[in-house]
Symmetry: C2
Subunit: 377 residues, 2 copies
């Protein structure tokens, strides 16, 4: 029985990964989601549709069935992720990774009886995978130094320590960020990490922790350094790079958006589908493809400006017979500083190909993916 823990699993990437796990697991998976957000908050738009047994309480039992968890794209109507209980069991634990209650819940989940019976026992044949996605984002991190360290560093440490206590060297996929680089025209996996934002600094520290815990045999770490993910559906998240989603969304939805970032600033982005695909490929990959010293891989990026995204969105809006929205640019130096503290482009390494990571889609395809996901066409 394969078991998955998804920290920050109610977020955009978490819900996409959950969809993948449940749909490809043929009923032979158990998933525990750990998130501080209440279940409702994950589904901005539609009403909460939590199934029986899915609550916001800490330490929900492992056997809770999930018929409907909510929309993965926050598009206003909850879509079923797994409407047949035979496809798997998903439980949600609401709480902080640093709390002992959450650590105990994860341990109980990991060593618990696969059959969902009352008598929890260690099942040596089950394997555990962790997708560690929970994070304070770049904008919030710059404003709240202490919270960024608490969530991004201490939370990672706690989760790694829980894995170490569980034993068996769980597969540990960590969502890092290109903010760890700290800017630059074009970066590679060999570029020295010199983060120029608190968010990036915490991601760089967490990478070092995951690498060392891998070396020590506590986990089998795989670190995906994510470019800015676009187009994010739903309301903006607290990232300084949120405008790279807000601009195309405003244009497609016929709204007006005031961008705090200049139209021509190039930035390393990745399409949402490519990002999810990359995380899953890193999870599935062979250890040998990472090499012995460094588990961090920068996902392939496409270098985009807001103008690129605005133009692609306007073209698609016209094709759809929708009046395009408008964007005005009123650069905010603080926000731009955070964006500039991330690289504008990424050069793929040899490992990128070895790991089967696909090039990210371009601006048009990225916006088209959003159009399809939102059923605008």
């Amino acid at each position: 029985m394969q078991k998955f823990v998804l920290s920050g699993g109610l977020g955009l990437l978490g819900q996409r990964i959950l969809q993948h796990i449940v749909s490809s697991g043929h009923g032979c998976v158990r998933v525990m989601i750990v998130d501080t957000a209440p279940l409702q908050a994950a589904k901005s738009g539609g009403p909460p549709t939590a199934a029986p047994g899915i609550t916001g309480d800490p330490a929900v039992g492992n056997g809770a069935k999930c018929e409907v968890l909510g929309s993965s794209t926050a598009r206003g109507a909850a879509a079923p992720i797994a409407d047949d209980s035979s496809t798997g069991a998903v439980s949600v634990v609401r709480g902080d990774l640093s709390s002992s209650d959450v650590a105990a819940a994860i341990k109980s989940f990991a060593v618990g009886d696969d059959g969902g019976g009352d008598h929890a026992e260690t099942t040596s044949s089950s394997t555990l995978s962790v997708f560690h996605l929970a994070s304070v984002m770049s904008g919030q991190g710059e404003e709240d130094f202490g919270e960024a360290l608490r969530v991004n560093i201490d939370g990672t440490r706690s989760l790694l320590d829980t894995c170490r206590q569980i034993g068996g060297r769980p597969r540990f996929v960590f969502a890092s960020s290109i903010a760890a680089f700290g800017g630059g025209e074009q970066v590679t996996d060999e570029t020295k990490l010199l983060p120029q934002s608190t968010y990036g600094m915490t991601k760089a520290c967490a990478e070092l922790l995951v690498n060392d815990c891998t070396r020590k045999g506590f986990v089998d770490g795989r670190i995906a350094r994510l470019p800015t993910v676009v187009v994010r559906p739903g309301p903006p998240n607290p990232a300084a790079t949120g405008c790279f989603s807000s601009v195309p969304k405003a244009v497609l939805h016929g709204q007006h958006f005031i961008s705090p970032v200049s139209p021509d600033l190039r930035h390393a982005c990745v399409g949402l589908c490519s990002a999810v695909d990359g995380l899953i490929r890193l999870h599935d990959a062979s250890e040998a493809d990472f090499g012995p010293r460094d588990r961090a891989i920068t996902l392939p990026a496409v270098s985009l400006s807001l103008r690129d995204l605005e133009e692609s969105a306007a073209r698609l809006a016209r094709e759809l017979g929708r009046p395009p929205g408008t964007v005005s640019y009123e650069p905010d130096s603080a926000v731009e500083a955070v964006v500039k503290a991330m690289p504008s482009a990424v050069k793929a390494s040899n490992r990128t190909a070895n790991l089967g990571l696909l090039e990210s889609a371009g601006a048009h395809e990225i916006v088209e993916d959003y159009v399809k996901g939102e059923r605008l066409r």
Copy 2:
């Protein structure tokens, strides 16, 4: 009034820096030493000779006078550091950097009345400098993962947070290590940090924290990435690289030493005097010489093997008319792995010259310094 906080100040580097501060401060300095070691432990060899007011208790008052703190070279007889109370006031706080008592003591020291009176007041004219030297070393770090994180990461965070609360952007000199690099034939300040030991990982994280706290204006950080310091007087410390001091000491003192590291493994070392000089130069330097993005500077190193040190020590022993001791080499793979996880050589950057950092002495001069310090000649 210049004030100094020395974390780990009872260690070898701390006592040398204290000597420098007290001797060059012309009585116009206050020093607070924070260390977990009892005062006696710092003076392996001679009897404890703490002056009145110098105790191992936490939160010793600021005004405590220090006539005799102890030998800085642990050579068996306590040597006076400052035997005239007019040369300055030194207090010792025994405790952990993460404890709230120690943080409160540092804050009280920093904002206290310079005159040593009863009525503590913020003195805006005083400036605060911190030398952050406290650390779990490489060997211990590899054995005790949790303690390495607690002392090296959490301790650094606490001290940085205390500085932030004090305000005024204290000068913050942090003793990092070339273990942060994780090996390599020859490294430069542009080399990506890929630590291959827990000790190195914690130092890399602490560097990132100091850099970010500098960027945010909490401190004025200066990071000295130290090669292995040789020859350390006194008993070996819990570093895997301790044999680089033990070999020449055994030869000079006519003893036999079994080295866990092969005689020909090259390793980046720095003489003790050069290391202390480097830390002080980084403290005294202008901010402009560091550049805007990275406060970490690798101190100039000399690439040495144990054979080099053994031969230099044997030559000096014969000159002194002492029968040289002997060394047998019985490599221990675990110890060698930690040594190999540090670079064998360092290439100086342009900043090294700008900051006035001197090339380290070579093997003969390094051993000669020890001979002089120990008064063997």
